[in-house]
């Protein structure tokens, strides 16, 4: 490996809007270069979590090294660094891009440029990557490659005239893509003789090897025994093994040197020591400065997670700890709820991240969870000058102690065909968006720019966007910062008792509407009891909405025949058992799923 000729290395990624065919193209490239025969290929090799395959999105970046024999007769080493495909993981995307020298941009021949296409291209251009456009899905009857090429040139402003027209699905024209990678993407630079400087673009925890660092060698070399240090976290260790990425396996090698992409293992026990974006250097001979762009990723969305069965609290803690080994952006701390008992307040990059963690806990660790409504971090400026970062609505200080509050805002870009501009603008208006401007991409499509409060988009904004544009609108956003806002805490009282796990923070203008919907929803979820149950939404002591679950009218076994008493006993036992699956708040039994019902308030739209 030490004899690798830097000029024969190509480090690149594939970028695309969701569903434009990124993973399929990656599969074809791997197949064409003979790394796996097509029989060995399971569809979409790179998305190797079950969840990723099911959802058709890439959650964790995957990387593969392949050898391509080009038409010029030379063998090239391709390092294909796959990037996560969701806005929740924007920072990870940016670090993956920083590990590349070029990017293949996949655009759907029928749909053309979408919001994520633009966001990803700009991100790639920010990292000085050379972008090769590729027009995919030319086999579709609705394909309009010419129009799309024009669009790429007009809107993005990059040369697209000789963009390969391919069908990744049918394997058509893949070779042309490979040739362009050789010709148009520059070879890496950097010298093996400089001090070690490597960019961490991912890491994972393996129970045998410890933490496996995925890195792009920028300068210097690293091999077994090299003393290394992470420049941001300060963690130190001695290298145990280096190597590169086969398809789905790690292949050890002697040394990694400048320009290469590979992995390093050392006796590191936790991925929080090896944060994405950090720089690995040689602790005995450090480089002068870390690579630019590192930032500590912070959780943006929080929710409470509780085991349905209180006795599983310890299991939940263990499971979260295990997931955290592999996911530095997951945070959690113990909390107690009067309604739900012992659980954890967990922080996530976004709602998708939350859903993924929740599903993994339920599937891989067999836990039944009650999740409270997700919220964002609010900044509470208290009268005594203190600023509190609020992740759990229940911890909101008394009204008298609050001077003012701030909420996080994102800048969003929404790409939409002109016929839906009206309805999308209306949606953004409803979600308290601040209109920034609109650009026409071409006659029929426009890019809308809005500042939107994060708490308005974490629930169901994406769904609403899709339904109001018949699926045509696409959406991307970036954290912008905090703005002052008129926020209130909405409390839910069930049978006159406040249920802490149902409280949430909301803008005062939407409080009434949300409170009303919440009460309606809970009325559906809470079964009838022996007594009437008022459900109220209140701000402070002021009730703003109310519903009532009527008392149960009738539940009587008319006949008990032939002395078969065990049958009657079973019926009564079943009744009693059913209650155990509910949460007792005061004298009311609340089904677990009611705590998640806030998530689905807009269902009926």
């Amino acid at each position: 490996m030490s004899t690798v000729d830097q000029s024969k290395i190509r480090n690149f990624c594939i970028i695309a809007h969701i569903d434009h065919g990124k993973s399929t193209l990656a599969d074809r490239i791997i197949e064409k270069t003979g790394l796996l025969t097509s029989r060995e290929m399971q569809s979409q090799v790179l998305d190797n979590m079950d969840l990723e395959r099911e959802r058709g999105i890439t959650i964790k970046a995957q990387t593969v090294r392949i050898v391509y024999k080009a038409l010029d007769g030379e063998e090239y080493i391709f390092n294909l660094i796959d990037t996560p495909g969701h806005v929740d993981f924007n920072y990870e995307v940016s670090r993956s891009l920083a590990a590349c020298d070029g990017a293949v941009l996949v655009v759907d021949a029928a749909q053309g440029i979408e919001a994520q296409t633009l966001a990803n291209v700009y991100l790639a251009l920010d990292h000085d990557l050379d972008v090769i456009p590729v027009i995919n899905k030319i086999d579709l009857p609705s394909a309009q490659p010419k129009r799309v090429i024009e669009e790429i040139e007009d809107v993005i402003g990059i040369e697209a005239e000789d963009a390969p027209l391919i069908s990744a699905k049918n394997g058509q024209n893949i070779e042309e893509v490979l040739e362009q990678i050789v010709k148009k993407i520059p070879a890496p630079k950097g010298s093996p003789d400089n001090p070690l400087q490597a960019l961490i673009f991912d890491s994972l925890y393996d129970s045998y090897k410890g933490v496996i660092i995925f890195c792009r060698m920028k300068e210097g070399r690293v091999s077994k025994g090299t003393p290394i240090q992470m420049m941001a976290t300060g963690a130190k260790a001695e290298v145990a093994e280096v190597g590169y990425f086969g398809a789905g396996q790690f292949i050890p090698c002697e040394e990694l040197s400048a320009g290469m992409v590979g992995y390093i293992t050392a006796s590191l026990k936790n991925v929080k020591d090896t944060r994405v974006g950090d720089t690995v250097t040689n602790s005995k001979n450090p480089c002068k400065e870390p690579l630019p762009g590192y930032k500590k990723v912070n959780s943006m969305v929080y929710c409470g997670m509780y085991p349905q069965d209180g006795a599983k609290y310890g299991d939940l803690r263990d499971a979260l700890e295990k997931l955290k080994l592999n996911d530095a952006s997951l945070t959690f701390e113990a909390e107690t709820s009067i309604a739900l008992g012992f659980g954890f307040r967990c922080g996530f990059l976004g709602l998708l991240h939350l859903e993924i963690i929740q599903e993994r806990l339920e599937r891989e660790y067999n836990l039944d969870l009650v999740t409270t409504a997700p919220g964002v971090i609010y900044k509470v400026h208290k009268t005594n000058g203190e600023v509190v970062e609020l992740t759990n609505p229940s911890n909101l200080p008394e009204a008298g102690e609050i001077e003012w509050m701030e909420e996080p805002v994102v800048s969003a870009e929404i790409m939409v065909t002109t016929e839906f501009i009206g309805s999308i603008m209306e949606l953004c208006q409803e979600r308290r968006g601040v209109y920034l401007g609109m650009e026409y991409m071409e006659e029929t499509r426009a890019l809308l720019k809005y500042d939107l409060p994060l708490n308005e988009i974490i629930y169901d904004f994406f769904d609403a966007l899709k339904s109001r544009s018949r699926g045509y609108a696409s959406f991307d956003y970036d954290m912008k910062g905090y703005v002052r806002s008129e926020l209130v805490k909405l409390d839910i009282l069930i049978n006159k008792e406040e249920v802490d796990a149902l409280s949430f923070i909301v803008h005062k203008d939407t409080a009434y509407d949300r409170g009303r919907k919440m009460c309606e929803k809970l009325k559906e979820e809470i079964p009838r009891h022996l007594f009437e149950i008022p459900i109220q939404a209140a701000i402070g002591s002021k009730v703003i909405a109310r519903e009532t679950v009527k008392a149960m009218r009738k539940d009587v076994l008319a006949k008990c025949y032939g002395g078969d008493i065990s049958r009657k006993r079973k019926l009564l036992e079943k009744q009693k058992e059913g209650k155990k699956r509910m949460r007792q708040v005061g004298s009311v039994e609340i089904p677990q799923k009611a705590f998640m019902s806030v998530l689905k308030l807009d269902e009926r739209k």
């Binding site: 539940d555 008990c560 002395g563 009657k568 006993r569």
Partner: protein, 377 residues
């Protein structure tokens, strides 16, 4: 003193299965019936409880439709029974048979009398022919009237009539009509059950979603009306669904609620003997092979005896007596159920009538919920 015993015979045959019925019953061929009656006889004469230890107080022949049997088929069984259990109450006996209009004849009724049967339970269900049809019943109101008159002619002076409420297509008015029609005949006993849609029945397929059935509000009105109206006609409610003239309560059923000892003979029959519950085999094949074979044998721990005392006893109008409870279990009812009682009394579901605990009107409406509170964790 011989211990009192109640005996149940199960006759799992009928002319045609009603759409709502989930009991062990089915139409049968002559030959299958013969085999069954033969097995039943074997079970009776070889019962481990036969002999001199017990004195039989009540007998109930239920089904199915026992009146589909020929007189001599029934006589065979009862003769064998009398031989195996020689001690029988005579003057104060209560021997009931269930009959359905249409399958019973004057001859059969007269035979019943001769066998010692002194009480009839006639399944009318509704006095509206349209409703009977929807239930899948084989008789009409006229058929019923004929049976009822014949029964009186044959000297039956203790008759129950079964009614159903909350039927498909039934209205408060049509129910009232059935009830008033029944009361005006002056039977000694009336049962009025609210229809329950049981799994595995045709009704479950048809009415699972509750469409086409009277809503709960109407059903409760029917229930209320039954009590009030029958009161004016001289009937008292003594159990959730049972009404009787003074002294004509069904003693056999009271044994179930009061946890007296009873022995069930026949397919799938249940028994409670010496604080042990057991059941016969529930498939014809298995039952015929070894009719004495018991299933689900469970010796009731004290905890379950207490629970049963509560959830069965509270079905009765007279409730559960604190004194009797103490005599039976040496424990104070008020102490062991302190929490549940407080909650349920406060909610208005239970009340003390002197030293006796009873369900209130509201408590009856939601009795399953209330009774479930008496199961220990």
């Amino acid at each position: 003193m011989r211990k009192p015993l109640s005996v149940y015979f199960h006759i799992p045959f009928c002319t045609k299965k009603c759409y709502y019925c989930d009991f062990l019953s089915f139409p049968s061929m002559e030959r299958e019936r013969e085999q069954y009656m033969d097995a039943l006889l074997r079970e009776v004469i070889s019962s481990p409880y036969r002999g001199e230890k017990y004195k039989v107080q009540t007998v109930f022949i239920g089904g199915g439709t026992p009146s589909v049997l020929h007189g001599k088929e029934l006589k065979n069984i009862l003769d064998g029974f009398k031989e195996a259990f020689p001690y029988m109450a005579y003057e104060d006996r209560e021997w009931t048979i269930e009959v359905n209009p249409g399958s019973v004849t004057k001859k059969k009724l007269s035979d019943y009398r001769k066998m010692g049967i002194n009480r009839l339970s006639i399944g009318l269900q509704s006095a509206i022919d349209e409703e009977l049809k929807k239930l899948g019943r084989v008789h009409t109101k006229e058929d019923f009237l004929l049976t009822y008159r014949q029964a009186r002619e044959e000297g039956f002076d203790n008759i129950n009539i079964d009614l159903l409420s909350a039927l498909p297509g039934q209205t408060l008015n049509s129910y009232k009509e059935s009830l008033e029609f029944t009361a005006q005949l002056e039977p000694e006993h009336i049962s009025s059950y609210s229809l329950i849609i049981e799994e595995g029945t045709l009704f479950h397929q048809w009415y699972q979603d509750g469409k086409g059935l009277p809503d709960e509000e109407v059903e409760r009105e029917m229930y209320e009306y039954t009590k009030q109206y029958l009161k004016t006609k001289g009937y008292d409610r003594y159990e959730i669904s049972n009404y009787a003239k003074k002294g004509k309560e069904c003693r056999h059923n009271l044994v179930y609620w009061q946890r007296g000892e009873y022995l069930g003979f026949g397919l799938g029959s249940s028994s409670l003997m010496e604080e042990t519950r057991f059941q016969n085999k529930t498939t014809m094949e298995q039952y015929k092979k070894d009719p004495g074979k018991k299933n689900n044998i469970k010796r009731l721990p004290l905890k379950e005896q207490i629970e049963e005392t509560m959830f069965l006893g509270l079905r009765m109008e007279k409730g559960v007596s604190r004194k009797e409870f103490y005599e039976r279990f040496s424990m104070d009812l008020k102490e062991i159920y302190e929490n549940s009682l407080n909650k349920l009394e406060q909610g208005g579901f239970l009340e003390w009538r002197g030293e006796t605990l009873v369900l209130t009107k509201r408590g009856i409406d939601v009795s399953n919920q209330v009774l479930a509170q008496f199961l220990f964790d």
